[in-house]
Amino acid sequence: MSDPIQTVPPADPPGRVEREFTVKERTQTQIVLSRFLRHRAAVVSLIVLALIILWAYVVQRIWPHPYDWLDGPGSAAPSLEYPFGTDEVGHDYFARVMRGAQQSLNVAFLVALLSTAIGAPYGAIAGYFGGRVDMVMMRIVDVMLTLPVIAVAGMLTQYLRGTWWVVALILAGFGWVVNARVVRGVVLSLRQQEFVEAARALGASDARVIFRHLIPNVTGVIIVQATLDIAGAILAEAGLSFIGLGVQGPDTSLGLLTNLAQEAVGTRPWLFYFPGLTIIAIALTVNFIGDGLRDALDPRQTRQRR
């Protein structure tokens, strides 16, 4: 005879209950990766961008006509042999657009790299020290922000005969300001937190706190900003070259191609639309990737994408 109470199965030991709710342990990288993979637009964009890069850097080399080859028929409409048609002097426009994309991507990557390399430490230092240092450093940023990029960049490219890296250096010379502001904002809030105080109490130098503790914590923000820099630089280069103040001939870029095609848009639309669509494709995919990274790297993001 058993007591009714005893028919109730014995309570699980505390350890086992917990295990039922415990999911597989994941590292930070795995969490970020799985969040990024859930952002469908970002994943598709990553694939498309990889294809564009492959196209601009690799296909260009194996394509039968180099970009400065001009023995094709003049002003031919797109066909199987000339997928993007030809221009009035007989350039294979497919090769031109690939070369343009390569130069524009070169500019964009260099701008993102330099803006991050200058802007992130600059912003971190200003935010970390605060007070007078911050004020002086941010005043310099204010001056940079009043300078219209288009005026100064235009003058400099005229003077320096714009090759792609000159344009990139000039754009980065303005671009780092934004990175600096963004990083400074995050560092301002981070430096109040306990782990920074703890590091300082343990006798860490300022440089160690900035580079070992603060910068790793703003990595997410820095990466997202770098992708935005890439998209911004593609568009800035295009705008500058469009008004004739960016990359100069005989080399080419996507902006310069649209500039040269602007008179032809009514009669030979392919000359205008193909480079333009390439610009949009690059900027669009880069922005989506940046958005996916932002979602993935933001620790406060809890709501899931459906």
Binding site: G239, I243, I280
Partner: protein, 332 residues
């Protein structure tokens, strides 16, 4: 608040001086504009002509002396200095063209802000709905479009539209080039109508590009606010949904948008330069592009002062708006 405004404007003066000096420095490194202008003339101009031109442009003075003379002339005589084009009065030209460009920039900015607030809030309230995805995609698309590309596409569309209705209407309804008709109407209303019609396409182009960046910010700041505790509290207190949205959420969510739009003024001016180039307006954009091409340094410096003033006033307005939006902020 008036004292604060005056203080801010005074603080802007050194910034403008420094940035005009940078422009001057860059310009003086560039090629010699006089040689560029006379290059390839046959017969070459006499040395005396070149010397006179150098004197008129004050090129024989030292580097710092040239800048100082320009600054002194500007402050004391309100003279923006000599242009390469001897017939041009830089001050008057800047004034005329600022009016033309300002109407484009202001209207585009207002349109972009209104669109951004409406779609940003709708997106945030219905996060991850079809509506949100549509707005997000449109925003991303415009963000990825070079401003000139959108402008040219719109222009081509308008030309096609004009072509199709020209037969029945006997006129081309949407002007696609210039900021006013070549023969300006005398009377007030026809004149306003003319200016308005010429503004349609450039304003739409510039507004859509500007809108793209702003709407993303409005969406994310609204989302952040809607997920915060004080909104939950406001709802829990039983306030109407409308009141929670407008008084509590939107008001706070507008603060980041104010910052972003103020910071974006320089880039909107850049966008206006490109837009004006496409629609062949004779505004600030045209002035700048020609000045840079001709190495016309005093025109570029004058342009910079006007643009810099826009940026500074924009930032000031943003700071004053903070005080309206955020009751904790007070200026004295």
């Amino acid at each position: 608040m008036i004292a604060y405004t005056i203080r801010r404007l005074l603080a802007a003066i050194p910034i403008l001086v420094v940035s005009s000096f940078i422009i001057f420095w860059v310009a003086s490194m560039s090629a010699d504009p006089i040689r560029q202008r006379f290059e390839g003339r046959n017969p070459p101009p006499p040395a005396a002509t070149i010397q006179l031109e150098r004197e008129r442009l004050n090129f024989d003075a030292g580097f710092f002396r040239q800048y100082w003379d320009w600054l002194w002339g500007l402050v004391v005589h309100q003279n923006f200095g000599p242009s390469i084009n001897s017939a041009m009065d830089i001050g008057g030209e800047l004034g005329r063209r600022t009016v033309i460009t300002l109407r484009l920039v202001l209207l585009a900015m207002i349109l972009a802000l209104v669109l951004a607030v409406v779609t940003g809030v709708l997106s945030a309230v219905r996060q991850y709905s079809k509506l949100d995805y549509t707005f997000t995609f449109l925003g991303f698309l415009f963000l990825a479009m070079p401003s000139f590309w959108l402008a040219v596409v719109l222009k081509q569309g308008a030309i096609a539209f004009n072509d199709s209705v020209e037969g029945s209407l006997n006129r081309r309804p949407i002007p696609t080039i210039n900021h006013e008709a070549s023969v300006v109407p005398e009377d007030f209303w026809p004149r306003m109508m003319d200016i308005g019609l010429h503004m349609v396409l450039p304003t739409i182009s510039l507004a859509l590009i500007t809108y793209a960046a702003l709407s993303r910010f409005q969406r994310s700041s609204m989302l952040e606010v809607l997920n915060s505790d004080y909104i939950r509290l406001a709802r829990a207190k039983g306030l109407s949904a409308r009141r929670v949205m407008v008084r509590h959420a939107l008001r706070t969510a507008l603060i980041p948008l104010t910052t972003v739009s103020a910071l974006g003024i320089a880039s909107i001016l850049g966008g206006a330069v490109v837009t004006e180039t496409v629609y062949q307006w004779r505004g600030m954009g045209d002035l700048l592009v020609n000045a840079v091409r001709d190495q016309d340094r005093y025109v570029t410096m004058g342009w910079l002062l006007v643009a810099g003033l826009f940026v500074i006033i924009g930032n000031l307005v943003a700071d004053l708006l903070y005080a309206v939006l955020d009751p904790r902020i007070r200026y004295e």
